[in-house]
């Protein structure tokens, strides 16, 4: 589940060029702190940081908890911003597939998002006291494929925004698939997510039927609250080698988009069920070979720390590759995928349902991959993993959905307005 691996440790920065003041200040202090600690960042540590051709290896990770984010930046928040503890994804199906109800809903949501992310109650909020600042709340909106079947919007479909073709290992369940709209609500705590998600769902009720809802958790901090790569329920560090800096921008943001999609990205949501019982019975040595990384540190089997590059050519005494040919980290590595990458954002889930009168618990990962072009990035990499990936014995995709995520919106504007110009 470590997905596409790429050995740059620098994490995703804020969600746009004009970060909220608090975040910008934090970043500035972060870099200053590095400089005063004696690290050689020199001239790179100024305004040119975002344009540096090579990632700054010592840049601090942005803080995870107690943040405030803005929806009014180049990109929506909740994509490259750190993964907080709690996330809920809500899919909706438009009751009437038409432009007018869609625009009305997007306007309502935009007002809600602006208020909620500022820590204010939404207009007409029946539970205003639940609103709060400093809870790292992000609300991210995406449009599903059916929206682009509307006559006036057919020519506006983003490049590479395709449905994911069927994979041999998929066992997709309709109830976890599709959606005309998605809202991704993430925050430090579940109460904030419950509150914001309910307000957004209530405002959608006039225009859309609720579809699937996926809840996930993440532990993106260490014991002292410092940012770290989180672990999935297999116990693996998940997210090692995510792209950063310029590489992140190239990987995620639509290149040369239509004006309405400036600052946009495309998202695939895969619900990946994990066979935890089988995994528990698997020896640690086998587990590490399946992934190609150590379980404790996340270091490649050819390295010593998480951020070491994979040495895909290294062979052991027996002559066999140290990172096996079917290891997940090898099969998904950009070096073996024509440099194809994606930004992965994982969420752990455990779900208990009553089946034939008995509780049945399943678990897995809500896997989010953000790509500039799904057809060119996610699809071929996933097809390669479907053909051969040791991890396939333990994992099964049971849900799949794709969404186009427009850029942020100005304060007096609403999300995706230019789509309807």
């Amino acid at each position: 589940m470590t997905g596409v691996s790429e050995p740059t440790p620098e994490p995703a920065p804020g969600n746009g060029a004009d970060g909220p003041p608090r975040l910008q200040r934090r970043r500035l202090l972060g870099y200053a702190g590095v400089a005063s600690a004696g690290a050689v960042v020199g001239g790179v540590a100024g305004a040119g940081i975002a344009r540096a051709s090579t990632p700054v290896p010592v840049a601090p990770q942005p803080a995870v908890i107690r943040q405030d984010y803005s929806p009014h930046e180049t990109h929506q928040a909740g994509i490259t911003t750190p993964v907080p503890a709690v996330t809920r994804l809500l899919a909706f199906t438009l009751t009437e597939l038409a432009v007018e109800p869609l625009t009305k809903l997007l306007k309502l949501w935009s007002g809600d998002i602006q208020a909620l992310m500022a820590g204010r109650p939404i207009p007409g909020d029946p539970t205003p006291d639940l609103a709060r600042t400093g809870v790292s709340l992000t609300i991210t909106v995406g449009l599903g494929p059916r929206v682009f079947s509307l006559a006036p919007l057919r020519s506006k479909r983003p490049d590479g925004f395709v449905e994911i073709p069927a994979m041999a290992h998929d066992r997709l369940q309709e109830r976890w698939c599709g959606g005309d709209l998605v809202v991704i609500v993430a925050a430090d705590d579940a109460t904030t997510v419950d509150y914001a998600a309910r307000r957004l769902a209530r405002d959608a009720a006039t225009f859309a039927r609720p579809g699937w809802v996926q809840d996930g958790s993440w532990r993106g901090t260490d014991a002292s609250g410092e940012p770290v790569t989180g672990r999935n329920l297999f116990g693996q560090l998940d997210g090692s080698g995510n792209p950063s800096g310029d590489l992140l921008a190239q990987t995620v943001w639509a290149a040369d988009p239509q004006p309405w999609f400036a600052g946009g990205t495309t998202l695939v949501v895969r619900r990946i069920q994990m066979d935890l019982d089988f995994w528990d019975r698997t020896t640690a040595e086998r587990q590490e070979k399946v992934i190609g990384r150590r379980l404790d540190t996340g270091a490649p089997l050819t390295g010593t720390v998480e951020t070491d590059a994979l040495d895909l050519a290294a062979v052991g005494e027996s002559g066999a590759p140290v990172i096996p040919l079917d290891a997940h980290a090898r099969r998904s590595h950009p070096d073996e995928n024509s440099a194809r990458r994606m930004l992965r954002r994982g969420l752990n889930y455990t779900s208990t349902e009553v089946v034939d009168g008995r509780p049945v618990t399943t678990a897995g990962l809500v896997f989010l991959a953000f790509c500039a072009d799904l057809a060119e990035q996610f699809v071929p990499v996933q097809q390669r993993l479907d053909a051969n990936d040791a991890l396939n014995d333990w994992t099964t995709a049971i849900g799949s959905a794709v969404f186009a995520l427009p850029g942020g919106f100005a304060k007096d504007d609403w999300i995706a307005r230019a789509l309807f110009d």
Partner: protein, 172 residues
């Protein structure tokens, strides 16, 4: 906004505690402008009386002079009144605020369900959730503010908002 309001509130408290009529540091010759936060209009869908509804919002007055909200105009309503809450027979009821609603200098006024509001009557159209209603607020200093308010769902008992039959008087 909440933080800003808190800061403003603090300024006022300090000024009062000092008992000095010191000029507000926020004041300028032009004076900071009035603004509106979080406007919305209650839907008429499902209302017992769909010919009337109410608009709610927060008016922020960062200036150093008190102003009053004296009226509002709405092309979709034949009659618009500014309403306030008063006690009558041990019950809070709504009535037209003949002198308008006070927005203190350096502070704000909340128009909320159960509190003061802008009553839109003799509606020319129904308001469905997601519609946008254009309003123009009129103030005692002669200034006006154009506001676009989204229509939102019912969130409280309808009766809660309605005054005992407001005296009709055509708006503007």
């Amino acid at each position: 906004m909440r933080r800003v309001l808190t800061v403003l509130g603090t300024v006022i408290v300090l000024a009062m505690a000092g008992c000095e009529a010191t000029p507000s540091p926020l004041a300028s010759s032009d004076g900071p402008r009035l603004s509106v936060e979080g406007p919305w209009v209650r839907t008429t869908t499902g209302a017992r009386d769909a010919t009337m509804t109410a608009a709610f919002l927060t008016i922020v007055n960062p200036g150093d002079a008190d102003v009053r909200l004296v009226g509002a105009d709405c092309a979709d309503a034949a009659m618009v009144q500014v309403h306030e809450m008063v006690m009558a027979d041990d019950k809070m009821v709504m009535q037209e605020a003949k002198d308008g609603l006070f927005v203190p200098a350096g502070s704000h006024l909340h128009l909320t369900p159960g509190g003061p509001h802008i009553m839109l009557m003799q509606l020319r159209t129904g308001f469905a959730v997601g519609d946008q209603v254009a309003l123009t607020l009129r103030f005692s200093d002669g200034s006006t503010l154009a506001v676009t308010a989204p229509v939102k769902e019912f969130v409280e008992e309808e009766d809660h908002y309605h005054s005992p039959s407001p005296t009709p008087s055509p708006s503007s």
